[in-house]
Amino acid sequence: MPDLLLELFSEEIPARMQARAAADLQKRVTDGLVEAGLTYSGAVAHVTPRRLVLSVNGLTAESPNTREERKGPRVDAPEKALEGFLRSTGLAKDQLEARDDKKGQVWFAVIEKPGRPAAEIIAELVPDVVRNFPWPKSMRWGAGSLRWVRPLHTILCILTDEAGAEVVPFSVDTITSGDTTRGHRFMAPDAFSVTSFEDYAAKLKRAHVVLEAAERADAIWNDATNQAFAAGLEVVDDKGLLAEVAGLVEWPVVLMGEIAEDFLDLPPEVLQTSMKEHQKFFSVRNGATGRIERFVTVANRETADQGATILAGNAKVLSARLADAKFFWENDLRVATSDINTWVQSLDNVTFHNKLGSQLERIERIKALAGEIAPSVGADAETAATAAGVAKADLSSEMVYEFPELQGLMGRYYATHAGLPAEVAAVCEEHYAPLGPSDDVPTAPVSVAVALADKIDLLTGFWAIEEKPTGSKDPFALRRAALGVIRLVLENGARMNLSEVLAKGYPGADVADLLSFIYDRLKVYLRDQGIRHDVIDACLAMPGADDLALLVARARALNDVLATEDGENLVQGFKRASNILSQAEAADGVEYSFGADVKFAEMDEEKALFAALTTAEGAISPAIEAEDFAGAMGAMAQLRGPVDAFFDAVQVNAESEILRRNRLNLLSQIRTICSQVADLTKLTG
C-alpha cells in the first residue's frame, strides 16, 4: 500500500485563497484517484504561503482489471449499425463474438481493461488537476501558457512503499516532477530531497517551515497571548486576522511592541482598524481601561538580534500611520466642535446616485421621513429629524474617508464631541443597523425611526428609478434593506401601516410592488423561524396585512394552531366545506351565503354544528377585534369535533331542496367564520 506525497511549490499564494486551495487540491486529486479505480485509506492537505501539499496514504498499488460485456446489433443488421458499435467499443470486427439470442445471432463485445499502476494514473491525473485548478484568480508568467495563482516553480510527487520512494514522472509545461523542495525563503533556501510525508514534514521543520496552518495559527495565538499576559494585558481576539497572518508566514515569530504615548488617546477602534488594515497587527488591550496600548506583529523569521530591527521598523511604520490617523482625528474634531453641519452641507457635492441626487438631498428626505415615522415607534419627531440630519455627517470626515469601515462609529464620537445629546449621537452609529440577519437591531426609539427612514428612502428611491434587484444581482443591497425594515418593525413591535409609510418615501415608487418584495423577504425570514410560506399567504390575504406586526402575530398563531391535531383537521373540514360550496355555487349559479336556519336541521350532528358555530362566532369576532389571534384560532379549532361529526353523519346534497339549501348555507357559515381568522384556502396540504 504506497503513500502519495504531492507538493506544488510556487511564489507567494494570497493568504485569503489558501484554505480553499488546500481543500480543492485534496478533493480533485482524491476524486481522480477513485474515479481511476484506486482506493486509499486517508488523505490530508496542507498549505503555506509557498506550497500546496497533499498526502494520501494507503493507496492501492494498481487499479483492478475490468471486464465489460456489451451487446451490439444483430449479426444480420446493416453494416452501418455494426460500424457504429465498433466505433463505440474501439474493437475490430474479428474481436467480436457472435452469440445466440432470442431473436437470432447478435454481436457481443467483450472489453477487458487491464489494471494500471498507481504511478501511471497519478502521472496523468496531477497535470490535469494543475491545469484545471479552480483558483479564484490565476495568471500566466514568462513565455508559458500555464496558469497558476502565482508562478509555479516545482512539483514534488513521490510514491513511497516498503521498497522506498519513487518519483512519479510527469511534466506540466516546463516543470518536471521530482522529489526535491526548498525550505524557508531566507532561513533555509537550499533544495533537499524527501522520501515520505514524515520525512518531508520533519525536514521542513528543520528548514524553518511549519507545514500546518493550524499549528502556525496556534503558535501565533499562544505566543501573543503569553507575551500580552506577561505585561498584564490581553490580545484583542480576531480570528480572521489570525487566519490571514498564519497564511503570510512559514516560520512565525511573534513580536510585541509599544504604541507611542501620543496615540493612546485615539479611539480604540481607530487604533485597532489602522493597525489591522494597514499593518496586519493584533491590538493589545489594557483590560482595566479598555485602551489599546501595544501591538503584536508576526514576522516570518528569526534574526540574530531577536527581532529588534524588525520590531523597530514596524513600530516606525505604525507611528507614521497613526500620525496620519491622529491628524485626521484632530482635524475632524475641530470641524465637529465648531459646526458639525458644515460636513452635512458639503455632502451636497457628493453624488448618492446620479438619478437620486446628492447625499445631502438624501439626508433631507430621511429627515422628513424619520419625523413622520417617529410617533409610531415612540420617538419624538423633532429629535428624530435632528438625529437624521447629522447621522451621516461623518461621511465628510477625513477619518471615514481613510477608513470607510469606521463610518457611523466615528459619527458617534464626533456628534458626542459636538455636544449633541447621547441619543442623537447613538443614531449616527445605529441607523445603519441591522447590516445582516444576525446583526443586532437598535432598540432606542430615535435610532429605530432613523434606521427605518434610512432604509425606506433607499428602497423607495431605487424602486422609483426601476433599479430593483434581479436574480443574484443586488448592487445596492436592497434585500438587506428590506430585511432591515422587517426586523426593525418586528423586533421592536412597532405598529405602522407599511404601505402608507412607503408612500411617504421617494416619490414615484410602485408601493404595491415594493410591498410584495418586502413580503417575499418576510417569507424567507419567517421560514427560517419555522413558519410555512403558505401560512403567511393565508394571513397576507387578510385586512391589515401591511401592518407587519399584526400580520406576523396572525401568522404565528395560525402556524401554532396548525401544529395541533384539532387545528389541522379543522382545516381539512373547512376545505371540504369550501369545496362542496364552490361546486354547488358553480352548478346552481347562486351564492350560498346566509339564511341557514336551525329549524330545518334534521339531525343531531346538524343541530350541534349550528350551536358550535354560534359559540365560535361569539368568541372569534371579539378576539380578532382585540388582536388575540391565539384566542381566535383556539375558538376556531373547537369547531373541529362538530364539523367532523357533521360530515360523518350528514349528507349535504339531500334530496329535499330545502334541506340541501339549508345545509349549504350552514357550510357557508363555516367558511365565513373561519375566514375571519385567515384565508384558509391558501393553505396547501
Partner: protein, 314 residues
Amino acid sequence: MSASPTPTTPRSFQEIILRLQEYWASKGCAVLQPYDMEVGAGTFHPATTLRALGSKPWAAAYVQPSRRPTDGRYGDSPNRLQHYYQYQVIIKPSPPDLQELYLGSLRAIGIDMDLHDIRFVEDDWESPTLGAWGLGWEVWCDGMEVSQFTYFQQVGGHDCQPVSGELTYGLERLAMYVLGVDHVMDMPFNAPDALIPLSYGDVFREAEAQYARWNFDVANTEALLQHFVDAEAECAAILALPAEDPKTGRRIVMAQPAYDQCIKASHIFNLLDARGVISVTERQAYIGRVRALAKACADAFVQTQAGGWQPQEA
C-alpha cells in the same frame, strides 16, 4: 541564493538611485532615462506600457518623476508629495528568478536580509486609465511597503503574451527607510559630506508648495478642460491616418505620438481632479475616455515592429 556580502548602508537619496541603476544594469536591463512628459506613475512610460505589448523580449530600468496633484501638501507632510520618483524595472518575458533578482536589488541598497523581515503580500494591480491589470504583491520590509511587484496580464485591453514582470519602487519612501529619516524633506539628497550638502527639502520644498497652490487653487480649469478635449482629438486624428506615409512611402504607424496625447489627457484629468471640478459621476466618464485612448494606442502599437508586427514576405 548566493550569500553575497552585505553591502554598506548608502548615505544619500541619490546613492540609492545610483546603486539601483548599477544593479539592474548588471542584470542586463537597458538603463533608460525618464520619459519627458508629466505622468502619474512609472508605468505610463512607453517603455513599460507599450513595450509590455507584443512578443518582442524587453528589459529596461529607469527613474520616472511622477506627479499626483491631489497628494500635494505644500512640502509639509513627512511623506506625501505631489512630485516624487519611482524606480521602474520591466523584463519581458518575466524571468523565473525575478523574485530573487528583486531581493538582490534590496541587498544592493543596503538592506540586510538576515535582520529584516521581507514579505510578499497579495496586491493585485489595476490601472483603469490604462485598461491594464496584473497579479502580484506589495513587498513589505518590516511592515512597510517598499515595492510593487506585478506580472502584467493585460495592457490596453490586450493580453500580454509573453508576460512582463514589473517592479516599482517608491524611491522616497524606500530611501527614507534605508537612511532612517522621518521627514522626506530632511533626507540627504547628495552625500552629507559633499562640498555643498543638499537635502531633499533644499531641492524640492518650495516647488512642492508652489505646485500645491497651483494644482489646488490656480490652474485654469477652462483651459485644462479644453486641453483634455484637444489631446483626445489629436490622439484620434493621429490614429485615424493610414499606416503608409504619403511623403516617404514608408509604413509608419504613429503609436507613440498618439500615446503622448493619451499621457497628456491622463495628466490633465489628474489636475482637474485636484482642482475639484470633477464630480464623482463624471470621474468614471473621464477615466473611461482616457482608457479608450490607451486602448487605441495599444491597438496601434501592436501594428509596429516593436510591437511584434512583421512585414509580409513578398
